[in-house]
Symmetry: C2
Subunit: 240 residues, 2 copies
């Protein structure tokens, strides 16, 4: 039995501001919570309305009714388990390998997919401009499929981050020369822009080289989605 | 003013069975409907509750009230315009260029993204197994961003399609040798499998070569999403 104030507190974590103040975030569903629990993340509390989650130490586990879970959850149909975790403290970025930087990516699904792609391609550090969607937004978390626990994500002013390193910034542009012609170095920053406006002028100044993915169709189609473009460019970087 | 029977008819098109019988499908929103109207697709009727859609010939245009549009729409917040179009008649597949084949891709977002990627990379023909999600499902349409009008999509038994050509079938597998080592021919079939189960055994028999995308992270992460994998493999095919 959880007290009302606890339910209210968890609901308050739907707001980015409160999450940032409390340094806590919410993940839902047994699979996701279980994966985060097994990761390096520190749990605050795991609520369950079912008999699952045997792996969770009793000090973190709290049984709740289906109705209580429904009140806490941001999902229409809550899935038995809701976990509250401490946000990890951002680590110093290691620029000896490739790093991804995002200039105002706004769509939660796109950010989640990009985090997942970073995980697949062994990119350990992700720089996000301060106006990029919050990575602890529930929709982002859902799209990462647990990869959120394995990537060091830093929200900050991108130019100040770029000043910490000598590695070149490669900016993705629709109309740039094909990435295929480019001999990619062993370390660098892959910079991706906003869904509608691309990379902002302010940030563009810091780019060493522009790269693009050629369009093979007639020029009728939409631009390449930023998550897809990131996937393709990370593959290009890793294939060498 | 539309009659009730018309609203009921349009609502019935939410069902795949009815769509297939009537050879009609519904698209929503001014941008999408406008793009489809300008394509080779034949319109049946365009309903608008606003003053947009000047380009649409009056014979196809019907003004409706916001309330009527809401009744027709499958969206929570309908966006002014709803278009009903005839499904194009599938064309004969041209195997002289690469073709993509899907073995039971079930997620509408994945299929929509794959259609969009085919469009980007100039793939004109998409073969779908009969249990692949319907491409006229509203969520698929939304994710294609209009690319649906430019790709020839055929639902059929994949092996019978493969019998129509001599080109090799390249199957995407998690654990296959890296695609980077493979010299890809100028034509072939890129076969992608189901989200959970991959390519079925029945279909696997028809594969000439298995290809994979190496995972650079520790083997903790989820499998690569099928839409992402398709994007990366199409890029590999086109980069040569």
């Amino acid at each position: 039995m959880v007290v009302k104030s606890q339910i209210k507190f968890i609901k308050s974590l739907r707001r980015k501001k409160i999450r940032a103040e409390q340094k806590l975030f919410v993940a839902e569903g047994p699979k996701m919570v279980s994966e985060l629990y097994r990761s390096a993340l520190v749990p605050y509390k795991i609520y369950t309305s079912g008999s699952v989650m045997e792996e969770v130490a009793s000090e973190f586990l709290e049984r709740v009714t289906v109705s209580e879970l429904k009140q806490m959850s941001s999902l229409k149909n809550p899935n038995q388990v809701l976990g509250v975790f401490y946000m990890p403290t951002p680590k110093k970025v290691d620029f000896t390998d490739w790093v991804v930087a995002l200039d105002e990516v706004r769509d939660p699904g796109n950010l989640g997919t990009i985090i997942r792609m970073c995980d697949w391609f062994g990119i350990n550090h992700l720089l996000c401009s301060t106006h990029t969607v919050d990575c602890y937004n529930p929709k982002v978390l859902q799209a990462t499929m647990g990869a959120i626990a394995r990537i060091n994500i830093i929200y900050s002013d991108l130019p100040s981050q770029f000043q910490n390193t000598e590695v070149p910034v490669y900016g993705s542009f629709m109309d740039a020369a094909p990435v295929y012609d480019e001999k990619m170095p062993t370390s660098g920053i892959l910079l991706m822009g906003n869904e509608a406006n691309g990379i902002s002028q302010e940030i563009e100044k810091h780019i060493a080289k522009k790269i693009g993915i050629p369009q093979y169709a007639a020029k009728t189609s939409e631009s390449l989605n930023v998550a897809m473009a990131t996937a393709i460019l990370l593959n290009e970087i890793r294939r060498g």
